[in-house]
Amino acid sequence: MATKRIVVDPITRIEGHLRVEAVVENGVITDAYSSGMMVRGLEIILRGRDPRDAWAFAQRACGVCTTIHALTSVRTVEDALGITVPKNAELIRNIMEAVLYVHDHVVHFYHLHALDWVDVVSALKADPGETSKIAQSISSWPKSSKGYFSDVRNRVQRFVDSGQLGIFANGYWGHKQMKLPPEVNLLAVAHYLEALEWQKEIVKVHAIFGGKNPHPNYLVGGMPCSINLNEVNAINNERLNFVGRLIKEANLFVNQVYIPDLIAIAGFYKDWGAIGGGLENYLSYGDFPTRGYNQPAAFKYPRGIVLDRNLNEVHEVDSSDPQQIREYIKHSWYNYSVGDDEALHPWRGETELNYTGPKPPFEHLDVTQKYSWIKTPRWRDKPMEVGPLSRMLVAYASGVPEVKSLVNDTLKRLNVPVGALFSTLGRTAARGLESILAAQWMQEFYDDLITNIKAGDTATFTRDKWEPSTWPESCQGVGMSEAPRGALAHFIRINDGAIENYQMVVPTTWNASPRDPAGRMSAFEASLIGTPVADIDQPLEIIRTIHSFDPCLACSVHLYDPRGKHIHKIRVV
């Protein structure tokens, strides 16, 4: 069989415009290129603005992880100015971030990624009685009667009969790599609909603490909400009770719906525990501070790097060290004043656009030249994977007890070796396990918040250093976080009260970036090598692995679509 080049453009069911070109030889991928096809211009827009406003612009970078850019931005400015936020602000930020994790992971699993494994059309052939038996055997979730599943099947049938596959378009229905029996497909489709209902509720936590949703409010120095248990317009008893109820429901949904489904579906796809591994280095900045952001040792998720899949050692990472995190643009559509073979630490980062790609529409990108809008970040010149799997591995290697027992139990339940973690399945499972932890921690932060308030501490904001007159003439800062999709850092240089330079190194930049000058691949490209492709006209396998990263290009790139047209086809050439 000859060598073929498959182009998937765009990858659907993600945020943003991603293009993948893969070379397939004898049914296996031997080479791959990942390209972000839109440019992000936030760095340019932020120049000269008040640093205290940066969060509001930064969070517009993305529609699905809105709050995390706001959080990272205020951390960045607080780092530059030397501000420590009050305890309540830390707890509220943690609750909001944990809510973001659980919301994002559930939506990713059911509404974006599940359709790579679940055949919606096959679900229409299911016997609702059998689905009911399966549901009751794996979970105590109450909605599990035969009548319930029968009703779901009829609802989806009516939707499909309308001739508008809409939300279910672009799925590879009937693909021979779809392995679930119709009854399990129906179970997953029913929970797809329940997850839609549930996610509407949980995001209300963001509106309560952040004033509105989407894009809740943040504040440099704390959180912009006042706590007064008996005041109508403040965070009062009633609102806190409501948040407490939503947190309990989140724990129930994750443990009784998401995780049983994940385990049941994974059981049919264990072969994916040996596919899609890719890079062997994993980076996590750590997150969920419990004693201030300058005390990473007290984070729920530890900070560190696992190299060469060695889980016996964790390396330290320091984003402010100019030698550690640096970005290349050799294969990205930018110019550097120091030359295109060089790398720059983000504090010295430059954003000068230089599109040299072909004029659309085109068949191929010239991958020997620049071929993406995404820059190529490296840690000490090494490529890194970021995301839930990286967090889980760094925590596991750091010996965090709750992570170790959760991971070990899951490996046992699925009856797969530790090596299965380094895979497409590992990534998807890590996201589920992380949701268990995030839901648990949400409850802990909530309990701590209530205890703190009852002890008489209602402070949510420190005015200390709010006024620019208290700032040094020039300073710089870095704010880090673990976004749902992985390590996120913002870098700022402030001069004379205004932003002189702002750079964002976002998770999908690490994962989706093009090769570096030494020709080393980043995570997406590396993960596709060795992946079997059963049907070259329907490369479902590519989509499975790319979706397992939960790519979100909206913040790695933005708005460059010269004709405004999505190609929406897979080209075999």
Partner: protein, 136 residues
């Protein structure tokens, strides 16, 4: 970003007007399924959004989209967006009335900015007037 933000500018302008008490304005930002909750609570939804449908910049089309497939092309950079919320209405069995005002824009040219281009800005008052009439 640029003319892509015409909806945001329109919502801000509408918030300054005196609207009937049963009307509320929401800047949906780049939100996808996050918008399902607030939108489902409404009986009637008026969406204002930019489209790159090849029409002259500033042209406003009033559409009544039923399913995501009825949406104009490249309404958003976000593949899972507002259009999918429409399908979710059907699947969940509660379908509000949806009117879409699609404003034709051109691809970004020149520098990156948060401001509207002169062509779109010029048409903004007319757009607001049209929306106010729709509300009545």
């Amino acid at each position: 970003m640029g003319d892509e933000g015409v909806g945001v500018h329109a919502v801000r302008a509408l918030q300054k007007k005196k609207l009937p008490p049963h009307v509320s304005c929401l800047d949906g930002g780049t939100g996808g399924m996050v918008l399902l909750g607030p939108m489902q609570e409404a009986q009637k939804i008026i969406i204002i959004d930019a489209t790159m449908d090849g029409g002259p910049p500033g042209r406003v089309c009033r559409l009544v989209p039923k399913f995501s497939g009825d949406y104009p092309v490249a309404l958003t950079a976000h593949d899972i967006g507002l259009k999918d919320v429409l399908d979710a209405f059907y699947l969940m069995g509660r379908v509000p009335e949806v009117i879409l005002f699609a404003v034709s824009i051109l691809p970004l040219s020149g520098g990156l900015s948060l401001d509207l281009s002169p062509e779109i800005n010029k048409n903004l008052p007319q757009l607001i007037k049209t929306i106010l009439m729709e509300i009545q």
